[in-house]
């Protein structure tokens, strides 16, 4: 008897629950989806608004009530933006500074990470500390002295002036070092036994194995160089040396308020390449940006 009682006791809540769950669960589901939609709208609407405005005629942008879809979609804003500012040149400048800026960072990080992970050195801990400490000096506070240094070097308004002061890399070095340390020892030893030198081990053994980490690191570098604003703003002083973010900023200053469609089109010139990259490499980018957070 006792056993049946126990059994009933055990079953009861389950049965009772089962009757209630679908309804309340449905309620929760709907509430969940509604919140999700609101959240996505809040984040997505500004981008939607930008895209729509860039296809609207100027007249439509400055007429009330505001429209949610361009009445007569037009590409005029894009060509007008391209003519209002030398966007071809901005693209070139952004490509050069991003390519070389990120490229140098990746190469420096590869070599530094290899040295830290595998090579012996008397005071390695001290070197490690020097790199770690660099993470604690935000680049923003170095702008005045660095401007003076770059001016002394005669690099104001040059590509090297934009690229070199920000080329050293600490975060990426640590990211790669961590990946390098995880490479199985046997593989490295086998390569040593085969008589491979360190350069060869780095490029034909370690790098291929840790490729995902390297790609992640490179993507982070590329995105941050592409978006960089403060330093190129300071170190360039003619239109033809501006990168895209600076160019769009000045376009807003000259055309904003009177010609939002053109400014929004110009903004898309910069945002779209990043969004496409993000679309294809979302996982790697998110993982790289969050690497420091949860492992610690």
């Amino acid at each position: 008897m006792a056993t049946i009682n126990e059994l009933e006791q055990a079953i009861k809540p389950v049965v009772v629950r089962r009757r209630h769950i679908p309804l309340s669960l449905l309620g929760w589901r709907i509430a969940g989806y509604l919140t999700l939609i609101v959240a996505v709208l809040i984040i997505g609407l500004p981008v939607y608004w930008t895209v729509m405005a860039s296809f609207k005629e100027t007249r439509e942008i400055y007429s009330l009530p505001v429209t949610w879809w361009p009445a007569k979609p037009t590409f005029n804003n894009f060509s007008a933006a391209w003519e209002a500012a030398p966007f071809g040149r901005y693209y070139l400048n952004s490509f050069i500074t991003t390519f070389f800026g990120a490229g140098i960072e990746v190469i420096l990080a590869l070599f530094s990470a290899y040295a830290l992970a595998y090579l012996r050195f008397p005071r390695k801990d001290l070197v490690f500390l020097l790199l770690l400490a660099a993470l604690m000096v935000p680049t923003e506070i170095t702008i005045v002295p660095n401007y003076l240094t770059v001016a002394r070097l005669g690099w104001i308004n040059t590509y090297q002036g934009i690229i070199i002061p920000g080329a050293a890399i600490a975060y990426g070095t640590f990211l790669l070092r961590q990946a390098f340390m995880a490479v199985p020892h046997e593989i490295l030893e086998a390569a040593h036994v085969d008589g491979a030198g360190h350069l060869r081990i780095l490029f034909s053994v370690v790098a291929p194995i840790t490729q995902p980490a390297i790609v992640t690191m490179a993507l982070l570098s590329i995105v941050s160089k592409w978006n960089e604003f403060l330093w190129p703003l300071i170190v360039t002083n003619t239109t033809d040396m501006r990168t895209l973010p600076i160019g769009v900023f000045w376009l807003r200053n000259s055309e904003g308020l009177t010609n939002w469609g053109v400014v929004m089109a110009g903004s898309l010139f910069l945002i779209i390449p990043v969004l496409i990259t993000f679309l294809f490499a979302q996982r790697a980018i998110v993982e790289g940006m969050t690497a420091g957070a949860v492992k610690g």
């Binding site: 969940g32 999700l36 959240a39 809040i42 984040i43 997505g44 500004p46 981008v47 608004w49 930008t50 405005a53 400055y62 009530p65 505001v66 420096l108 990080a109 070599f111 530094s112 830290l116 012996r120 050195f121 008397p122 070197v127 660099a134 604690m136 000096v137 935000p138 680049t139 923003e140 506070i141 170095t142 702008i143 005045v144 002295p145 660095n146 050293a168 600490a170 978006n227 604003f229 403060l230 300071i234 973010p245 769009v248 900023f249 807003r252 904003g256 929004m264 903004s267 910069l270 945002i271 990043v274 969004l275 990259t277 993000f278 679309l279 998110v286 940006m289 969050t290 957070a293 610690g296």
Partner: protein, 306 residues
Amino acid sequence: MATYTPRQERHPNTLRREHRESLLFALFIGPNLLLFAVFTYWPLLYNIYLSMVRWDFLRPTMTFVGLQNYIDAFSDRRFWNIIWQTATFTICSVGLTLILGLLLALLLNQPLRYRNTARAIVFSPVVMSGAVIAVVWSYIFDPRYGLIDQLLGFIGLDSPNWLADPFWAMPAVIIVYVWKNLGYAVVIYLAGLQNIPRELYDAARVDGAGTWERFWNVTLPGLSPVAFFLSVTSVLTCFQAFDIIRVLTNGGPADATTTLIFHLYELGFVSYDAGKAGVVAIVLFLIMLFLTIVQIRYIERQVTYG
């Protein structure tokens, strides 16, 4: 005497190899360290020096004034006002990011359809240029033709003149900043949620804990290390927030959105006051150094005892 043989005589090859390896180490890491020395460590030291001189960047000589620049700065009401504004901006932005980020992460952790798409959308502003986001938002804040005015119109409200009104400019900057950085917090929280062991939830369920109790007793404590990491990181990035302020409000109107980092830029590149810029740089550095040390201490403790 005869028992002692210098190492190099015993293992000439080993030593040479060690030397070569050390040399290679220096070659591999040297360029990176050199760049840091020239463009990170030297500027830091040079800022200390600059903070003790009076100089307008043009004159060939600097006048050494000792701690006068610090005394001037800290007895200036405007400087305190800027510190206060930096604190307001930081506390509001970090608070909103942490709370909204948590709510959104909890939602996106549910088995809802399209949640991966939603995650991607929420994260996307993080990879966009802050300057261009600010350009886009300066149109959104347009009091006549902007999106916000339109949305407020739905509920019968008029849009304030966000960027020209000393009261509304700071909220506008905070809104844009949170909009851009929310996705980062969400992703970190989601990783934290994934790290909470399932068994803890099962155990709580066996103990008869309801949804709410499980949230209070399992989820929140489980997320606290992540929340701590996020709060320090967010505070640090807030201190570095320049592009949005420069583009959206240019520190104005009437100084209403001038933070320390913007003040540093202004002193260095608008009013050409090297000494005062040096003071601001040092003050900023010390605050951020303190926060970073707190963070490292905490992470160390996590690793050792956690």
